[in-house]
């Protein structure tokens, strides 16, 4: 075999083997970096890459309550607004649900005056909430002075019970349960009154308004996500 048929000729011709040497050096250095990274730096991550992570999700909840009283004239509609700002809670608070307890009694003082007709409703907008939740109670009305309760579930999927989830990352689950968007905005409770006249109203001047008491309870929660060692 003459010299030109050998591989040495290909390596050394023209550049005295510089190209070959340069690429060999790059390859050795690069693969050493790779070997160190693969076998040392990331060894644990790589060994556990198929391990399915299990996380516990624990909730701690607390309620914020307050009440308001509105005097609503016959045929009028009044609105009670509620937002994080109005409640005076932190913008980052995670809101689970809002409950309005509406109560009233016939306050005209007339003998035999029947209860007035009160209608309460929540418009499904204004606040970012789980409006599609089947358990929401967005409107009610009565004329027998029974209390009424309206409920809006704000954070989708929140039931308040601790759970264990499989897969994804802690960051993923943290993102799922710390979405501050839910509960942002203002929710509006509309209350309307239709008074019912009693038999003696002609003599005492009539029943032309009603005092409505609204107690609202807003449930907030805090979440803790922990990785459960396998």
């Amino acid at each position: 075999m003459n010299e030109e048929q050998g591989i040495r000729f290909l390596i050394t011709d023209d550049d005295s083997g510089r190209s070959f040497a340069l690429l060999s050096l790059a390859l050795v250095v690069g693969l050493a970096f790779h070997a160190y990274t693969f076998n040392v730096t990331k060894a644990n991550d790589i060994a556990n890459k198929y391990a399915v992570d299990v996380y516990s999700i624990d909730f701690e909840h607390y309620d914020v309550q307050d009440s308001d009283s509105l005097l609503i004239a016959n045929g009028e509609v009044d609105v009670l607004q509620l937002s994080r700002e109005i409640m005076g809670v932190d913008e980052g608070s995670l809101m689970a649900q809002i409950t309005f307890d509406v109560s009233y009694s016939e306050s005209s003082g007339q003998i035999g005056d029947p209860c007035d007709e009160v209608h309460v409703s929540i418009a499904p907008n204004g606040m970012e909430a789980d409006w599609q939740n089947e358990n929401n109670i967005l409107s009610d009305s009565n004329d027998n002075c029974d209390p009424m309760t309206l409920v809006v579930y704000v954070y989708p999927g929140y039931v308040g019970e601790s759970s264990e989830v499989v897969g994804n990352s802690a960051k993923y689950w943290n993102d799922v349960w710390t979405n501050e968007t839910y509960g942002s905005g203002t929710i509006e409770l509309e209350i309307s009154v239709e008074t019912n006249e009693g038999p003696t109203s002609f003599a005492t001047g009539g029943d032309d308004n009603e005092e409505i008491n609204v107690q609202w309870t807003v449930s907030f929660f805090e979440v803790e996500i922990k990785s459960i060692p396998s």
Binding site: Q5, L23, L27, L31, A35, T37
Partner: protein
């Protein structure tokens, strides 16, 4: 379009290119230097192997015949890897420089491929012996060296034929490893999305060897990138400079998109992992998957025609044109499907755009086909002839290569079928 759909389209494209390319090489009348002639054939068989592998895998592993899908895909990939190594050994610069060396080299590659296949069959499909990543190291090193030698050859910086050799080395390298280059930043930043790539998982040595092969591809890519940056600084920019810059820039964007992700399925990062967001999945599809399935055949077509591996004359012009049209039209319509999955279009609008795209594709063919084939780049035999030894092969030698490859591919598909019928467990064969 789901990745499975892309795999199917890629399979069709690769098979179309491989089969029509073989017809062209057999029917061409003009004499072509031996290494180009063999390279053309090997390139065609490479695409036939990939066409089968991608086509079979597009069916998915959920069906009853999952073993056949797994084994036939793996075996044809092993033939692919061996063929790529053989290609690198003779093209663009023949390292096998005599008939004896060529015969020995071809037999060594065949022996290596058969040993790998035997290991996959009798030990386990994920044993280190059955690995596939060696091809990236071998061919990357050879093409990388050829690139450096010819791109930086003193006094030949503007020599079209000399620089053409470095161009084809870059294009071949990108054709084989382009989808890995989209993750090059992850290699340096030690990101999970790079280091978690494996073939099947479950064997840390195999995982390491596979990852090492991908790392080698990235290292060669970085060397070529630095070389081209230097050449651009010297005012020597070439068409292939833009190609490598594009791939590496997409790699930087990919790092921004994929940072924080982990598992990305088996292979070289052409699949989206389970934890990927929709956007990360789309990005993987429009970069790595598109390269893996569509850019490879397109680059193969360009290399075949532009570098004179197949010479088009009046006799075979029609086959060549048909081949180009099929590739362009199928690739165009597949790309449109991908766009459609990103931007919801009505069927009417989609059909209209497809019509325009196909007309454009055929129009491109009319305008560019002649320029692509009429002036194939010659290699610098006159000025650097010692690199390109002239060997005389009988016509039967070329046919023997085709026969050998056809028999080998037929055999591996048959073997996969037998393993399917035998209900073999691909991961615990050594326990039988």
């Amino acid at each position: 379009m789901a990745v499975d759909g892309l795999l199917a389209v890629g399979g069709i494209l690769s098979l179309a290119l491989g089969a029509s390319g073989l017809i062209l090489t057999r029917s061409q009348k003009q004499e072509i230097i031996w290494n180009k002639r063999f390279a053309a054939q090997i390139l065609c068989w490479i695409f036939i192997c990939k066409g089968i592998a991608n086509g079979v895998r597009s069916v998915g592993f959920e069906g009853e015949s999952w073993r056949f899908v797994l084994y036939s895909g793996h075996f044809t990939d092993q033939v692919f890897a061996g063929a790529v190594m053989l290609l690198a050994l003779i093209f663009p610069v023949p390292l096998l420089r005599t008939k004896k060396q060529f015969k020995f080299g071809a037999l060594a590659v065949l022996g290596y491929t058969l040993i790998s296949m035997g290991a996959a069959t009798f030990i386990s499909i994920n044993t280190p012996l059955a690995g596939l990543a060696d091809a990236y190291i071998v061919c990357g090193f050879i093409w990388g060296t050829v690139y450096l030698k010819f791109r930086f050859m003193s006094n030949y910086e503007d020599h079209k034929e000399v620089q053409g050799v470095s161009d084809v080395a870059i294009l071949l390298f990108i054709m084989v490893t382009g989808h890995i280059l989209f993750r090059w930043v992850g290699f340096l930043t030690r990101s999970n999305y790079f280091y978690f790539m494996d073939i099947y998982g479950g064997n840390i040595t195999s995982d390491y060897l596979w990852s090492m092969g991908l790392a080698a591809a990235v290292i060669f890519g970085i060397v070529i990138l630095l070389g081209e940056i230097y050449q651009v600084a010297q005012g020597n920019i070439r068409g292939t400079s833009y190609v490598i810059f594009t791939y590496m820039i997409i790699g930087v964007v990919s790092h921004i998109v994929l940072a924080g992700t982990g598992l990305s399925g088996s292979g070289g990062g052409t699949d989206a992992g389970d934890g990927y967001t929709k956007w990360q999945g789309i990005w993987t599809e429009i970069t790595s998957s598109v390269h893996f399935t569509m850019m490879r055949p397109i680059l193969g077509l360009y290399i075949l025609f532009h570098y004179g591996l197949v010479k088009i004359t009046e006799d075979n012009e029609q086959v060549g044109k048909t081949m180009a049209i099929v590739l362009i039209v199928v690739a165009t319509s597949a790309l449109l499907e991908i766009i459609q999955s990103l931007i919801p279009l009505t069927e009417m609008l989609s059909a209209g755009i497809l019509g325009i795209a196909i007309a454009f594709g055929i129009g491109w063919e009319e305008r560019s086909f002649q320029s692509l084939i009429s002036n194939p780049l010659r290699f610098p035999i006159r000025v650097k002839g010692l690199y390109f030894p002239e060997l005389e092969f009988e016509r039967s030698s070329y046919f023997a290569l085709d026969k050998g490859m056809a028999i080998l591919i037929g055999f591996v598909v048959f073997l996969a079928f037998i393993l399917e019928l035998s209900s073999a467990d691909p991961f615990t064969m050594s326990n039988w």
